[in-house]
Each structure stands twice: as structure tokens, then as C-alpha cells.
Subunit: 482 residues, 2 copies
């Protein structure tokens, strides 16, 4: 068996075992490694760089909308969690506790933050006195810990990286506007930067953030039909303000509770990225988040090698100068075929081949990772051609994912229909829901699917509850979720 | 008393009480707040942005020299610390321990990382098999925790933010070269970005990093004559490679230990920045790290106000487009005098005043924070004039700090002389040292000064040990340190 074929065989086909495919791909593409601490992974450079590119893009969008970054402590005193009843119930089971430090037993246990509403609420109560101090628009980039029983690299790890925005406002209307503004920033980022189509909507009460009044989410469909919650934005009302005494003197000199929000996305976006776009050849990275957008591979016989490499380097400079993330692989001990496979597996959007005949013709060959199309382009048009192909690639990837999601988004009328359909092929299921937690719970128990959200936009409003048959209050998306 | 004068009086003069001055300034300039967890601070947006600007600059320099970022777990199993004897002794007293998580007692306690040599060493032992895997050049931006008994905002906090580079190399020579390369990057960054002159040298054995073979540092002098270690770079030899089995097959197929390094700077740079450049009026920020480089303040009577504000906004656009970090303060309820004081206190390098007469003359007034100089400049030369003044300001601030350090760097021949001199005025003391830990220890016991480093360059080589009078092996800088 040739080295090339053997190589490809190391990735389990998606159709055979999607979970194994996922682990094969992230290991083989060198994105992560398991750590000696249960449920914690190491983000290796290839994986971490995906996060860095997400961070840079999101950070700019947060700042454009008036937010500033800050940093709050990792540790949260136990008493803080007691202040908001739902919050403590939601997070207590997942907390790691520091009980000793500096050689002494602590008087009060310290939790490692699972999220920072409590400690930030405490600080905001000190900072906010008057309507003049509002709004407070702060974001934090940080590590958080939730001691998960079942973990999966990127998608569910005990420690993960994220950003958490926390804002406080004078009025409910402003806080609601902020909540939806950030949701829209997430939607736009995930769709237009990561090329992942999402369903935007509101969480049902049983799926909302512990302590929030309302939670909104964007939900993405993986290639196995399961859902990933790709971002959430929470309207807290005055829940945390009441728990932490975030009060201000309003314009009429009356003491009022502030209205707060929080919103976050995490490194689970990396997992979603892989599961939405990857295929049996490996990773497939959308151009905007690809650390390497173009891999240049000089080809041809030994006698023309120096010339070809020299020209490759010149073209590298041209692309680099145009702001394209480009690399050259001119290693001599590896065959072009091996390299082609390697960079396909790593998901590089464009391969550029340059050989002696291309030199003669003033041309180069661009190969698209997503379509496999080969495009012969003029060297003096290289920047434009590469930019065009990158833009096309983004569109194609988004459209492919969108088509897949639409194909696997089905409308069902009953729980039996949902269960039967899920046994055939997993996907998202649009169904009517009466609004009762019991019906929602029954769906989960019997099918394993949870309510993902109540979409803002649906093609069809369902009239009856899929479980009890009563009048539907909402049309809900159900799916198995990561 | 006028509001202006009262305002200034809220900052304790440096000469009266430097420590109080420091706390007054960081609180008043809104850089931080104390948190509910002992020894942990909140980095407020004004303080955090200083760190973001440092990060951006350093990150670019690390990447230029071939390093990539990664992320390793926050938790380190207790057994890992036992593997390197010096390392465990150095860090054990400062560790917080997680003993429970997810509702259960842990079988093995987990430390919160004080630094990541151990867990990274463990991972490198898995990743490095052959000389082809070397060098490994990885950096991590992270929070770390050291449970400190005495804390001081930014300079010594239980949790702080930093970067830690960890590299592994084939040869000792390469590892040594890396160690010194990173030290030079730190020196260049601290001197040319933060305008803080430093003394570059090697730590004595008793002051080196726990587990390192050699530690190098850059040391800066605060305005009270005390030292801040502004960055360190460690040559580990094969110490950690032996402890964690980081071995590779060399070019002759022999198993060898890798040679490793680590290097870091932290948010204590923010503290240094304030203590080196600040004065009785407040913060004084070097232009390259100032979040706001130019504050624009429209002035003059109400009747010309709209015109002046409109022109201010136009000039704002011009400066912003040129990449200058600029803000306008056109609040009407605050007097120009109040604003002048406010932005001086916040350390903004340049104030730009624009009034009706300036409008008529096509001019604007630039006022330098550091010299107080007023400069009338033509509006159509504004970008060039601002850029010139920013560059001059950097030079002036660096030169002022350099002159101060040279003035307060004294040469002493005996411990008595050092003690007498320190009682007069604190500073750095150059003295001969025989190389014995006992003599070094005696200096610390009797004077409170510790050896900062053995400078690479000294004007004068001392011939005898300041304590025992024996032949000096090294000329050392002693100082009280933060
Ligand atoms: Zn129902
Ligand atoms: Zn001596």
C-alpha cells in the first residue's frame, strides 16, 4: 500500500463512525492533545490559532459597539453563589473548590469561576451609584471551569476558554436591546466569519441560563445532525441586580435596580467549525479563520527546482504583502503527493502549485480544498485570483452547510414521528409545543432530543404540541445536542 | 478652595509617602479595584488596556521570532511538582489546592498553576521523539496564581496575568541562544515601548528561578529607588528534561535529553510603568502604551462652541485616520480646567486645545504631559506635529528615567557604606561580591537589599566583596525590590 493511501486510511470515514472521525481529525491535524488532568485538553498551536483568529475578530466587533475589556478574579467565594438561587443550583454540581492555599486551610472555600456573574455583580454594585455611571459595557476574555462528567475535546471540556460580556443598564429596554445586539453580533460572526449557518432564537425556560430571565442562542447543525449551541446572550432583568444590590439613583433621584445582561462564546466554536465543515479527507477551514489560507508547493524535477523555488518565494512575498496568510512548503524529502494530502487533511483552503511549465507560461495552479477544482491563473493576477477564490470558498462552504441544515431540518407533528425520523437520520425537528415543561421533558426522555430554541423566524408555525396535542404556544427546534 | 486644587490634593505627594501616592494614583486613574478575594485585584478597563497594548506588541515580537501560542491546563496534579526538587521547594508554599470538584473529593490534589514548566514538560515528553521535532517554540498567555502573604496591586497579586514561553532545543548552545534572545526582546520592549531603562544581567544562584540552571533578568528602578524585576529568562539546561523525560533521538540515533528554556513578563509591568513615570499630578504614560495618546478639548465661549466642536471633530478624524489613538472630550458640564487636570492625572501624553482664536489662525495648541510645554501648531501639519511630539515625549520620558537611574546607581565598597547610603536615599548599589551565599544573605539581613543581578555591562568592576573583603568574583547590583 502506498504511503498516501495508508495516510488517508488513518481517518475513520464520517459515515462509519462520526465520533471517531472527529477525534481522528483533531489529533491528526494536531489541534489538541489530552492533558494529565481529567477533562482538560491542551490547545496545541494549530488549534489555538483558530481561537486567536476568532478572538481578534470578535474583540474588534465588541469594541466597535462600545465595550471594553477588563479582568476579574478566577476565584469566587462560596457565599457569592448562594445569593442567586437558580444560579447556585445550576452551577454548584460542576464547581471545583479550592480549600487550601499558601499552606493553610481557607476559612471560606473558593470556587473556580464557571462564569462570572456573581463576582462581577459584586463589583458593579460598588461601581454603579448613579444613572451617570450607566451603561457599564465590559467584556472579559478568560478561562472558566465546569467539572464535566462526559467530556469531548473543544465541545465540552472541564476547562475552556471564552469571552463573557457583562453589561448594566438604566432601563429594561436598553438591556433587552443589548442582549439582542450581541446575539446579532454572534450570528453575523458565526455565519459570515466561520461560514456556519445558525438558527437564531430564544431558549425555553428549562434551557435558559441559571439566573437569567431570558436566554437567546444561535444553534448550528453538525454533519451528524446534532446541534451545537454556538453562542448565547442572556437578559437578566434585575435578578442579579437584586441579588448583588446593583442599585443606582435615577434621573428623579429614586433608587432603582440596574438591568443586566451577559453573553458569551467559547472554544467550543472550534469543535463546531470542524464538525460543520470537515469531511473524510480531514479538516476543511473557512478562509477567514484559516491560519494558513494558501499553501504554496513548488513541484517538478530536480533540475528546475532552484528556479521554481525562487519564483515561489517571489510570489509568496506578493501574496503576503497583500495580507493573505500564506506559507511555502519546499521540503525536499517529502513528495508533492504527500504534501497535497497533508494540507487537504489540515484544511488549508487553497493549494498553489508551481512547476516548470507554469513558470514558462507565467501561470500558477490554484486548487480549492472544498471543491477540488483546479484553476490555472496568471501570475500577474495572482492576488486578485486568490482573493476571488477565497471569497468563493467562503460562500461555497456557507451554502453547503446551509443546504445541509435545510435538508436535515424537518417538521414533525408528534413525538412518535420525531422518534421514528431520528432513528433514520438525525437532524433538527421543528415542532409545536404547548409551553409545558412536562411535555418538553418527555421529548428529552423518549428521544434524547432537547429543545434548542424557539426560532425568531420559521417557515411554518406549528399549531399543536407534539406531545400532548394541545394548542402550540411556540414552534420549537428539537435536536440532540453536543 | 477651588475644585481644581482640591482635586490635585487627593493624590498624596510622592515625597510625602510614595506607597500612598501609588495607591492614590491607581485608584484615581481607575486602573483597578480590590476584589472580594484576598490578594486578587480587578483589572478595570483603563488598567487592562495597558496590558492589552503590551500583549499586542510582545505577541508580534514573539511570533516574528518563530514562536506560536498554545494553551495548557490551569490545574497541575500534585505529583508533577515532586518531580523537580528545587521547583517544588520554590513553589509549594504559594500554591492553592483544589481538593474537591463536581461534588466529589479528588483522589489527587490539583494545584492552580503558579507557572507551567511541569505540565508543559510532561506534554513535551510526549511530543518530542526525534531531533526532527525540535526546536519546540511555544508561548502561553495565561493567568497564574501564587498565594502571596503581602500583596500590592499589579506588582504582587495572588492572581496575575502573564505570558510564559517554553522552548525545547537539540543543543545547549541553541537553548542558551534562545534564553538570551528572549531577554533581549524584553529589554528592547521595556526600553523602547515602555520607555523604562533597565539593567540587564544574570541572577545570582540564590535568586534564580526554582529549577533553572541560570536565570537572567532586566531590572528597573522605581522613583522611590526600589527595583522591579521587569522580565526574566531562564536557561534550564536538562533539569526539567530529566525530571519529565523529555528525550529525543539525535542525528546519530542516540537518546538525548532536550535543553529547555522558559521566559516571562507579567502584569507587574503595569506597576513598573506607573512607578517609573508617574508624578505628583498622577499617571504619566509613555506614548506607545497610552490607550489615549491625544485628548482633544474644545474651549472658548458658548457662542462659538458649535463651530469649535465641529472643527475638533474634523481634526479628530484626521488624527484617527493616521493611526493615532485620539479621543475628544466635549462634555459641556465640565470646565476646561477640570478636564486639563483630569487628563494630566490620567497621564494622557498630549492635550490638544482648540478655541475660536485657533480656528481663525488655522492653528491648534498641543500641550505635553511630561514637560508642560505648549506648542502652537498649524492645523494642516497636525499629524506630523502630533507624531513628532509623541516621539519626543517617548525620548524625554526614557531619558528622564535613565538620568534618574544613573543618579541613583551608586558604587559602594562595604556593607556599612551601603546601609548608610540607603538610609539617606534608596537606589541601586553596585558592589563586589565573592560569590558566597552567606555574604549575599548578610546584605539582605542587614540592609533589606537583595542582589538584583550581575549586570552584563558595568562602568566599574569592583575588586573586593562588600561583606567579607575577599576577592570579588562578580560586580552585583543590590537594591530593595518590590
Ligand atoms: Zn404539550
Ligand atoms: Zn564575601
Amino acid at each position: 500500500m502506498s504511503k498516501d493511501k495508508q495516510f488517508v486510511r488513518e481517518i475513520t470515514p464520517q459515515a462509519e463512525d462520526f465520533s471517531r472521525w472527529y477525534i481522528d481529525v483533531i489529533k491528526k491535524a494536531d489541534l489538541m492533545d489530552y492533558s494529565p488532568v481529567r477533562g482538560c485538553i491542551v490547545f496545541k498551536p494549530e488549534g489555538y490559532e483558530l481561537w486567536e483568529l476568532c478572538q481578534r475578530e470578535l474583540d474588534a466587533r465588541f469594541k466597535e459597539t462600545g465595550h471594553r475589556n477588563a479582568y476579574f478574579p478566577l476565584f469566587i467565594p462560596e457565599s457569592f453563589f448562594q445569593k442567586e438561587k437558580e444560579h447556585v443550583e445550576g452551577f454548584n454540581p460542576e464547581l471545583p473548590w479550592v480549600t487550601e492555599a499558601g499552606g493553610e486551610k481557607l476559612e471560606e472555600r473558593l470556587a473556580i469561576r464557571p462564569t462570572s456573574e456573581t463576582v462581577i455583580g459584586h463589583m458593579y454594585s460598588k461601581w454603579i451609584q448613579s444613572y451617570r455611571d450607566l451603561p457599564v459595557l465590559i467584556n472579559q476574555w478568560a478561562n472558566v471551569v465546569r467539572w464535566e462528567k462526559r467530556t469531548l475535546p473543544f465541545l465540552r471540556t472541564s476547562e475552556f476558554l471564552w469571552q463573557e460580556g457583562h453589561t448594566a443598564h438604566e432601563t429594561e429596554a436598553e438591556a433587552r436591546q443589548e442582549t439582542l445586539q450581541m446575539l446579532e453580533i454572534y450570528r453575523d460572526f458565526v455565519e459570515n466569519f466561520l461560514a456556519i449557518p445558525v438558527i437564531v432564537g430564544q431558549k425555553t425556560p428549562s434551557e435558559k441560563f441559571a439566573g437569567a430571565k431570558e436566554t437567546y442562542s444561535i444553534e448550528a447543525m453538525m454533519k451528524d445532525g446534532r446541534a451545537v449551541q454556538a453562542g448565547t446572550s442572556h437578559f437578566m432583568g434585575t435578578n442579579f441586580a437584586e441579588a448583588f444590590e446593583i442599585k443606582y439613583l435615577d434621573r428623579d433621584n429614586q433608587l432603582q435596580y440596574a438591568h443586566t445582561t451577559s453573553w458569551g462564546v467559547s472554544t467550543r466554536l472550534i469543535g463546531a467549525l470542524i464538525m460543520v465543515h470537515g469531511d473524510d479527507r480531514g479538516l476543511c477551514l473557512p478562509p477567514k479563520v484559516a491560519p494558513t489560507q494558501v499553501i504554496m508547493i513548488p513541484i517538478g524535477p530536480a533540475k528546475t527546482r532552484d528556479q521554481v523555488v525562487a519564483r515561489t518565494d517571489e510570489l509568496y512575498d506578493v501574496l503576503k504583502k497583500a495580507g493573505i496568510r500564506v506559507r511555502v512548503d519546499d521540503r525536499q524529502d517529502l513528495s508533492p503527493g504527500w504534501k497535497f494530502n497533508e494540507y487537504e487533511m489540515r484544511g488549508v483552503p487553497i493549494r498553489l502549485e508551481l512547476g516548470p511549465r507554469d513558470m514558462e507560461n507565467g501561470q500558477a495552479v490554484l486548487v480549492s480544498r472544498v471543491t477540488g477544482e483546479k484553476r490555472v491563473v496568471a501570475q500577474d493576477q495572482l492576488v486578485e485570483e486568490v482573493e476571488r477564490l477565497l471569497a468563493e470558498t467562503h460562500e461555497q462552504m456557507y451554502n453547503n452547510a446551509k443546504a445541509f441544515m435545510e435538508e436535515n431540518l424537518k417538521s414533525v407533528d408528534s413525538l412518535d414521528e420525531l422518534k421514528a425520523s431520528m432513528e433514520q437520520k438525525r437532524g433538527f425537528y421543528l415542532a409545536g409545543w404547548c409551553g409545558s415543561a412536562a411535555c418538553e421533558h418527555q421529548v428529552k426522555e423518549e428521544s434524547g432530543a432537547t429543545s434548542r430554541n424557539i426560532p425568531f423566524e420559521v417557515q411554518e408555525h406549528k399549531s399543536t404540541c407534539l406531545v400532548c396535542g394541545d394548542v402550540a404556544k411556540h414552534t420549537v427546534v428539537f435536536a440532540r445536542a453536543y
